[in-house]
Symmetry: C2
Amino acid sequence: MKSDDLNTLQWTLARRAERMNPSVIREILKVTEKPGIISFAGGLPSPRTFPIDAFSEACAKVLREDGQGALQYAASEGYGPLREAVASQLPWMVDPAQVLITTGSQQGLDLVAKVLVDAGSRILVETPTYLGALQAFTPMEPEVVSVASDAEGIDVDDLAAKAGTGDTRARFLYVLPNFQNPTGRTMSEARRAALSARAAALGLPIIEDNPYGDLWFDAPPPLPLTARNPEGCIYLGSFSKVLAPGLRLGFLVAPKAMYPKLLQAKQAADLHSPSFNQRMVAEVMKHGFLDRHVPTIRALYKSQRDAMLAALTKEMDGLDVQWNSPDGGMFLWARLPAGMSAVELLPKAVEKSVAFVPGAAFYADNADPRTLRLSFVTASVDQINTGVAALAAAIREAKTA
Amino acid sequence: MKSDDLNTLQWTLARRAERMNPSVIREILKVTEKPGIISFAGGLPSPRTFPIDAFSEACAKVLREDGQGALQYAASEGYGPLREAVASQLPWMVDPAQVLITTGSQQGLDLVAKVLVDAGSRILVETPTYLGALQAFTPMEPEVVSVASDAEGIDVDDLAAKAGTGDTRARFLYVLPNFQNPTGRTMSEARRAALSARAAALGLPIIEDNPYGDLWFDAPPPLPLTARNPEGCIYLGSFSKVLAPGLRLGFLVAPKAMYPKLLQAKQAADLHSPSFNQRMVAEVMKHGFLDRHVPTIRALYKSQRDAMLAALTKEMDGLDVQWNSPDGGMFLWARLPAGMSAVELLPKAVEKSVAFVPGAAFYADNADPRTLRLSFVTASVDQINTGVAALAAAIREAKTA
């Protein structure tokens, strides 16, 4: 036995680590990193929307006026003025004491799983659902069960059928009601009312993830589920889509029954989110900055969605491809003709210099192999036109092959 | 049943959450937040050491030259130039590909526990050990076993006795060899050599935590354990003590056998550490900045240690109190006379406007109630003199009571 083998044998992995896998999307993004490729694959906000000047001013001011505070250890709950700013901008009465600042909303998912999921615990997700949430939950070894979903969101009768009892009783439903990743769909007002009532009747907690809610195009989405039953929901939000993801700042709003344990999990995970970044964002948010800035993101993304819809209508003519028309966010969901597979299409599309994410990656079970996710925010309008034409050509060739 | 009760009953905590508790230190710090108190309790670096001007310049430059990159999503491994800078400053051959940037070294502990600890897994720690590590490990429900330790570090015979076999085989030994938190002690060269050999013979992985190693006063500490057996160790480092904790940046160096799983756990935990902060620190580290900056921290902390040692010698005369003389870092370890309890002394000390952390908080088991941790870096020399006199007065009164 070589010494390398000996050394490897020293390490015994936890059972949960055996279930961790490289992100499918991450692996796809690597494949699609060839020069000149037009990518509809990533979930990256358009860097044109990052308010660099505002951040520059905020950095300089924070370091000048309170550099020592901004660079020191701080409370695990987060920076007081930022917690207040978060509470005041949410569309229901939120006590800042219930706001916990997280290192991106991804961390909120990690904390929720740590506090609520035992090995084997049932948890419920949409069909399809956000891949990053599945990755965050997996280390705590849940039994993930998909609830049937349509264009308006969760099927509440299927929810009741899958909520479980006794040992199989679901710990929570994870749901992303606004401009969902991956489908771009939005839960209707009627469906929200029905879901909120049914979940309360079932005693089923809801984890509501809302990173895209501010990115609406024509009208704001209906009121969050958490606003309808704050004691029965944990709400996750993010600054990644309205300011910038590179600061890794998000937040959660938790009922009093859950806050202390989430806080303890947060403290154990990374002590606190960067105090400097929290002060930068609190500074940038002053004087209604988001009220002026976010509409510029909405207008840009709406024009890009329109460009993609127009290109799809033009290029997919006669190909029997379906797609939806999201009311906000970053993603559009498409479905190939019967018998085709998005996973098999991807390498052919990449040959023609266009990339997407096969939808199968987003299903906890029973994936629909025909689906694919298209981001319309990272590529320019010209790239959207060229890329959709290339995608149509790849589909046409695959159909006739 | 009121509706509040109904709602509370919806939430079922994970078993691990029942084991989470508020940080003892956090609770103590709350008690000691009265105006005018002199605190030897916290583990806060002196804010006088934060290089605010260098950070201001770095922020402006990063945003001016690559704002879009600094504010965008990024790779989970961390920013390439920062990984290279970390690898190049470590005192053994490190491939930057083995460096993972973490959200503070606290996150490194969380990732290690996720990847290596199953519920009931034995893990070994020093006596006493870093409280934050115990908090990070606890959610994964280990059986924590203390290994006997003296002023030079781990007792290697007791280590062998407690390493376990089969199902009780320890997953790792967690050790903080340089200027340990809480004791300030440093593992000697002879002990490191003995520990490294014994651990390798036992096939026992080592998690080596080194946040304070650069803060030596007269001579650098001996070579890290990881340098002696890189395939058998995971090394954790931090920028919190040499630059500033408020950026929440640390790193780990892992062998090839472990890196991929730690990376997957990192991605699930918070996608990546803030790209902006990573570029700031990489920028600040250019052109040998740490070589000029860190000696100023060493000089300051050494003068503060000397002040505390002098004050202790003067004020504790005749009180039968013992203390050590750390060769670096931030903490000094003291022991009260037989029969006294540091937990009982604390409120009496706070009455006299001085605070410390009772040592019992740092033991996984069999705590020594007479011990206490004194930080010498946050208070000024004048405050150290006043505070040590007040502490001596509290001990004197407690002895005669």
